[in-house]
């Protein structure tokens, strides 16, 4: 693989980019890791209501130091607050929201995304490591719009946008759009279609680090 230097968004820039695509009034679930940062970049004038699988709708900002409530946390186990209009509920209700199609958008991290929309984000091929699925499989079947937010390639340079996933699947044909540090791509019936390149990158350079074909 040829090493090409490209313009890559940092995590904050990537979070801000994703936040642009979340409409006013949306119910949104943010996955563990990078996606949790999206809530910090909602454009002015929009109200977005965040769902956390552990039983809160209306997750508010991080509490001021010293005001943390140990029983008020999000799915990443971080201390949070309750926004105005929040509600608490138990787990079967929380997953009814997810599986029942009530949440508009979920933003998830991923190991791999395939051009048919398959997502792999819960297990690797390392069998000695205990698998852990959490709520990812429920989210992807129930939420109509799944945004994936991830680095375009692995640390070793191998591609994460594939023809077919090689890791165990989280869901089949579930991804709507992928936001990477290098580009934004829609999943279409024909495969990945370019939405935009991170300014300064060429399509050829991005294609070179993408296993699947990028349509334009």
């Amino acid at each position: 693989m040829t090493v090409v230097t490209m313009n890559a968004l940092d995590d904050a820039q990537l979070a801000a980019r994703v936040a642009q695509d979340i409409p006013d009034g949306s119910y949104v679930n943010l996955g563990i890791g990078k996606p949790t940062h999206v809530s910090g970049y909602v454009p002015d004038g929009r109200e977005v209501i965040y769902h956390s699988e552990n039983g809160i709708l209306g997750v508010g900002p991080t509490p001021a130091p010293g005001t943390e409530d140990p029983e008020l946390i999000d799915a990443s186990k971080r201390y949070v607050t309750a926004a105005p209009g929040a509600a608490y509920f138990e787990h079967s209700d929380s997953f009814a929201m997810m599986r029942g199609g009530h949440i508009d958008i979920a933003v998830l991290g991923a190991y791999q995304v395939a051009e048919n929309g398959d997502l792999a984000n819960w297990a690797t091929l390392d069998e000695t490591y205990p698998p852990a699925v959490g709520g990812a499989m429920d989210l992807v079947v129930g939420v109509p719009t799944i945004f994936v937010m991830m680095r375009h390639v692995n640390r070793d340079g191998s591609p994460k946008l594939l023809k077919r996933c090689t890791y165990p699947l989280t869901g089949l044909g579930v991804v709507s759009r992928v936001y990477t540090d290098l580009a934004v791509l829609d999943v279409t019936p024909e495969g990945f279609r370019l939405v935009e390149l991170t300014p300064g990158n060429s399509l050829d350079a991005v294609q070179a680090v993408t296993e699947a074909r990028i349509l334009t």
């Binding site: 552990n54 608490y88 138990e90 079967s92 599986r99 297990a123 852990a132 499989m137 429920d138 129930g142």
Partner: protein, 221 residues
């Protein structure tokens, strides 16, 4: 009707070796640490633990794992940061693991409490977690048939309770506690405060019919 129990030791006394035990909580919230410590003291072993996580650090479920009391864990996410005791027991082959998608775990527990024989869920269809399970396609959508998941005991953490066993919870500490109380033959609850007066019937989250014993344990995590 008085379901109050004097202390944690009496509350967990009925747990037998080999029992299935649901343990409420998600992350550090809503975990019945007092009851878990009492169960450790009580000595029951060969337990099947049903919980969302598999313990972290040296507290809660991790303590039971460290002490070798757990034969099997049924959970959705055993890989919490600091889940060293689970990882150690798992890699040594000393504990069996069944991983269940989180919503399916909650729904299987609820189904047991609600007297259902199973349900069809789209969750996990086509994935490794559906292998060996009955599936069907309805209107073009794939579903997995999942079985109810009951337990002999549930260890529950609530905020306030009354002597009828009615409970409410604080913030995100509800999580799995209400469905687990429904699904266990014997649900044991530690409450921050055991109220002398009955709870307001409008604010009861878990009605007392799902609770067999309630003990005051003032400590908040």
């Amino acid at each position: 009707m008085d379901k109050s129990v004097d202390d944690l030791a009496h509350a967990v006394a009925p747990v037998t070796d080999g029992a299935s035990v649901m343990i409420g909580g998600f992350g550090s919230s809503g975990i019945p640490f007092g009851l878990i410590d009492a169960l450790l003291e009580q000595g029951a072993t060969g337990l099947t633990v049903i919980s969302n996580n598999a313990g972290a650090g040296e507290t809660g479920i991790a303590k039971l794992l460290k002490a070798g009391r757990v034969a099997k864990v049924i959970c959705s996410y055993p890989r919490t940061p600091g889940s060293i005791w689970f990882e150690q027991r798992f890699k040594a082959g000393e504990v069996e693991l069944e991983v269940v998608p989180q919503g399916t775990l909650a729904e299987r527990i609820r189904a047991a409490g609600a007297g259902l024989g199973g349900f069809l869920t789209p969750t996990g269809y086509g994935t490794r977690l559906a292998e060996g399970k009955e599936t069907r396609v309805i209107d073009g959508r794939g579903y997995v048939l999942e079985a109810p998941l009951p337990a002999d005991f549930a260890l529950i953490r609530a905020d306030r309770g009354d002597k009828w066993g009615n409970l409410n919870f604080h913030a995100t500490a509800r999580n799995f506690n209400p469905v687990m109380a429904m699904a266990a033959t014997h649900a044991i609850v530690e409450v921050r405060e055991l109220s002398d007066a009955p709870l307001d019937p409008e604010t009861v989250v878990t009605p007392g019919i799902f609770v067999q014993g309630v003990v005051e344990y003032g400590v908040r995590p």
